[in-house]
């Protein structure tokens, strides 16, 4: 199956091999090599890399809808954050009576707000299986309902982008409120355990990193499968000429709806893996600027390439970590400069720049005839 998906996808094979080697090396180097050794990878680095990988998964989710379907979603951060909140709720319930107030049932913020019982929507989140289902269901349902109305009414282009932006902004405002029951502007934090294992331990950190790598690899394979199928070709056709597709007999809104929902689910999974690694989820994850940043990653790496999205996410986030540490005041200038440079020098992104040569081949063939 995997071999079939990767047939003709040399870059994908290279990427997955590199990812596999990196994951194996980082995991082993952290657990087996003593800390004072040169080749040791610190737990801090492991967690940082894990965080990048969840961003990369988020980026391919955006590339699938933007690059291949032409829906410029400026609200994918919302699905990411929702997945994160679901995971956060599970982790909160795992805290049990070890919170500051020592209440066995209620989270600290609920005690602080003088609530005497658990809100109904927190029920069930003490079970991991329930949370796992919700990680898929919550972002998926929101995307489905949002898409149902938007695509059926044929909202497209910049109007749709603005609506997605408004959606994530509205969610941010809602989650800031204490009455919503998600911890207000502090969000959910101070997690202790995941599945009974301490989040502070090295092996759990490595486990989360490996899970993120696995999720990224699977997400990539799923997206590649979609893109290679006839469904992928219909998507590109929708992107390039929506009316033509409609008059060929395809229900365009159904196609948009399913791919958008699938992409939101991927984003939600990325968010769920992100939260235990960074240890906090708060409403600022919904902020519109986050969603725009994801689009910048994809544009930078190269639209409609999947791998470009991953590359863009890794480059920008590595640069962000570096600059905000070394020269915090110039980070935004560096990001802006990078974006301008890529737009001017390689309008199709970093990967698109290298693929240009391949694209010219058919022309040459004709010329030779």
């Amino acid at each position: 199956m995997i071999r079939k998906i990767l047939n003709n996808d040399l870059h994908g094979k290279i990427f997955l091999s590199l990812l596999f080697i990196l994951t194996l090396y980082v995991a082993l180097a952290n657990l087996l090599i003593p800390p004072d050794h040169l080749l040791h990878v610190s737990t801090y680095t492991v967690t940082l890399l894990g965080k990048y990988l969840t961003y990369a998964l988020l980026a391919i989710a955006v590339d699938l809808v933007w690059g291949y379907l032409g829906i410029l979603s400026l609200g994918h951060g919302a699905f990411f954050a929702l997945g994160g909140y679901v995971m956060g709720m599970y982790l909160m319930r795992q805290v049990g009576d070890r919170g500051v107030y020592g209440n066995p049932l209620l989270a600290d913020f609920m005690v602080f707000l003088n609530w005497d019982s658990l809100p109904w929507f927190w029920l069930g989140f003490d079970q991991f299986w329930f949370a796992a289902i919700m990680i898929i269901l919550v972002p998926g349902t929101l995307a489905f309902v949002f898409g149902w109305f938007a695509f059926r009414s044929r909202v497209t282009g910049v109007y749709l982008s603005i609506m997605t932006q408004a959606m994530t902004y509205a969610l941010m405002l809602a989650f800031f409120r204490n009455e919503m029951g998600f911890g207000g502007n502090n969000g959910l934090t101070d997690f202790k355990d995941l599945l009974g294992f301490s989040l502070q331990s090295n092996s759990v950190r490595v486990g989360l990193f490996v899970s993120s790598a696995l999720a990224l690899a699977l997400g990539y394979l799923c997206c590649r499968y979609i893109v290679n199928s006839k469904l992928g070709r219909v998507s590109i056709a929708v992107r390039d000429s929506e009316t033509r597709v409609r008059f060929l007999g395809y229900q365009v809104d159904h196609f948009k709806l399913w791919i958008f929902t699938f992409s939101a689910v991927l984003a939600g999974i990325a968010g769920a893996l992100y939260v235990p690694q960074v240890g906090i989820i708060n409403p600022s994850e919904f902020s519109p600027i986050n969603s725009i940043e994801i689009v910048v990653w994809v544009a930078l790496g190269g639209r409609a390439t999947l791998l470009g999205a991953i590359l863009g996410a890794l480059i920008v986030n590595y640069a962000k970590t570096y600059f905000t540490g070394a020269f915090p005041e110039i980070w935004l200038f560096a990001l802006g400069g990078l974006f301008i440079a890529v737009t001017l020098l390689a309008p199709r992104g970093i990967l698109g720049f290298f693929q240009k040569q391949d694209q010219q081949n058919p022309l040459k063939e004709v010329a030779e005839k």
């Binding site: 979609i226 199928s229 006839k230 469904l231 070709r233 219909v234 590109i236 056709a237 390039d240 000429s241 009316t243 033509r244 597709v245 409609r246 008059f247 060929l248 007999g249 395809y250 229900q251 365009v252 159904h254 196609f255 399913w258 058919p362 022309l363 004709v366």
Partner: protein, 273 residues
């Protein structure tokens, strides 16, 4: 489309129980399209005004008329893009087209070529035809769809008909304007439509290309019903057996090219210029 209103009717079976189960288009009376008393207006401007039009199955019909005569609006109504204010449009005797949306109408067997050639530029010519192929066009089906040997043969056959077989693996963006027009017609044929609506197929074409297009359209008539909307009178003369002249949203004249050309009303509004 099931509205609440239809549930209130006590004199008939609920619509969803009876509808959507067409075993083909009923053309036993020989006509494939029935347009009756059709009217549509935009902000008070009557684009189509009480229009009646019948198409025989398998004929090649040209619709001509000055700008604003309602030609493109008529196409829009037949293909479900615009809803009329009143009147009826039936495909065969049994299918009320006004109940369906664009993609459903396409699936029922009406193909439409746009005024401006519209093909999928990023896809190869072959893929363009693959996407147009008749068959199941639901989301889950396309995810797992595979081309059979038969499908590939059919695509090759249509490519040969449209004279595009040598460009098979080229991205459609590299085709010339005329080739794009043929590709779009080829895409329509892939849908196995009963009725083909072709909007200005020769605009921007050289004389040779026009001849080739006339040949192509003539070869399609018979097996399909073909409606051509065109401005170029020479081209119409070269292909048409039947001509309908539209003027201000009405049918002004109908008949062979000679009959139409000698009609004084037509000469006055259109040909006389």
């Amino acid at each position: 489309m099931i509205t609440l209103e239809s549930f209130k009717r006590r004199d008939q079976v609920f619509k969803f129980l009876t509808d959507n189960d067409h075993h083909g288009i009923d053309t036993s009376k020989g006509d494939i399209l029935y347009i009756e008393d059709l009217s549509v207006s935009f902000d008070g401007f009557k684009a189509i005004d009480n229009l009646n039009l019948y198409l025989r199955e398998g004929e090649l019909r040209c619709i001509i008329g000055p700008n604003g005569a309602g030609k493109t609006t008529l196409m829009d109504i037949i293909t479900g893009k615009t809803r009329p204010n009143s009147g009826s449009v039936y495909l065969g005797q049994n299918i009320n087209l006004l109940e369906y949306n664009e993609s459903e109408i396409a699936q029922l067997g009406i193909g439409r070529k746009f005024q401006k050639p519209t093909v999928f530029e990023q896809h190869t010519v072959f893929e363009n035809l693959e996407l147009s192929m008749a068959g199941n066009k639901r989301v889950w089906h396309t995810l797992t769809a595979q081309l059979s040997g038969e499908d590939i043969d059919r695509i090759d056959e249509i490519l040969l008909l449209a004279g595009l077989i040598e460009m098979k693996q080229l991205p459609a963006a590299l085709l010339s304007h005329g080739q794009k027009q043929w590709l779009e017609i080829a895409m329509l044929v892939m849908q196995k439509p009963r009725l083909l609506l072709v909007d200005e197929p020769v605009s921007g074409m050289t004389h040779q290309e026009m001849e080739k297009t006339a040949e192509l359209l003539n070869s399609l008539a018979g097996e399909h019903t073909v409606v051509v909307v065109e401005h170029d009178i020479d081209f119409v003369r070269s292909i048409a057996s039947q001509v309908t002249v539209l003027h201000q949203g009405r049918v002004l004249a109908e008949g062979s090219m000679e009959q139409v050309q000698s009609n004084p009303a037509v000469v006055e509004v259109y040909l006389g210029e």
